[in-house]
């Protein structure tokens, strides 16, 4: 099995799904902890240059979560429910405050590999292609994004 030392990403052409796969030098149990312990989670989830504040966090089946990321005084809130939490798999919903009617279903799995490594697979099933593509385009972390601005410009000047 090849080692995926860089995150690979796949946007499914037939379903509004984004899949990301990445291997880690850690045990599945440690990856599980990094996803369920709010203190650990806050240390890595936010984009570079963003602070993350956990507002509530109940990482068990049926629990819920909410965190807020902040950059330059701008707040980005996210919330959802833990549908299922077990050592090899987490299923949760995910909503960005900026798109309150949108909800994605995220499935994470921790698969033990040889030599002490673990493969993390995340699958985000969005509720529409528009939502998925906007998500892909924005990276979800910036209010203004150059991609849309460029596309706007291209539509405006008749390039599209």
């Amino acid at each position: 099995m090849t080692t995926l030392s860089e995150a690979t990403i796949e946007a499914d052409p037939t379903l509004p799904i984004i899949r990301i796969t990445r291997d880690f030098a850690a045990a599945p149990e440690q990856l599980f902890r990094a996803h369920t312990d709010s203190e650990l989670f806050a240390q890595w989830v936010g984009p570079n240059g963003m602070g993350t504040r956990i507002e509530y966090w109940d990482a068990r089946t049926g629990g819920s979560w909410r965190f807020v990321s902040e950059r330059d005084g701008v707040l980005y809130g996210f919330h959802g429910c833990f549908h299922e939490v077990r050592p090899d798999r987490i299923v949760q919903t995910f909503t960005f405050d900026g798109d309150p009617d949108g909800v994605a279903l995220e499935t994470l799995s921790f698969e033990e590999l040889a030599d002490g490594r673990t493969r993390l697979r995340t699958q985000s099933l969005c509720d529409s292609f528009e939502g998925r593509d906007a998500w892909l385009a924005s990276g979800m972390d910036v209010g203004v994004n150059e991609g849309y601005a460029r596309l706007d410009a291209m539509v405006a000047n008749g390039a599209i």
Partner: protein, 116 residues
Amino acid sequence: MADQLSRLFAALADPTRRDMVARLAVGDATVGQLAAPYDISKQAVSKHLRVLEDAGLVRRSREAQRRPVHLEANVFDLMTKWIARYQREAEERYRRLDAVLAAMNDTDSQQEGTAS
């Protein structure tokens, strides 16, 4: 705006259209040249081309008699850039996770040391 994006992704959701785009990336081609490798009618090829045209991925010149199809590489680049950026952000996030896991490894082995 998401509609425009969706049209781009939807246009590329079809394997025949993806193949056409890949071939147009090498150079312009006529409808006849594009149709040649497929076991489908010229009409079907024209229909695929219309979808690509509506999405802004290809352009057909109006002047030339053979009306070659031209790939709008900048639109294609734009999509590739979005995906690349999303990938980069995921990778940055996971590098931070690497660091958290490495710290966890240290703590865990220390605890094991104390317990034994």
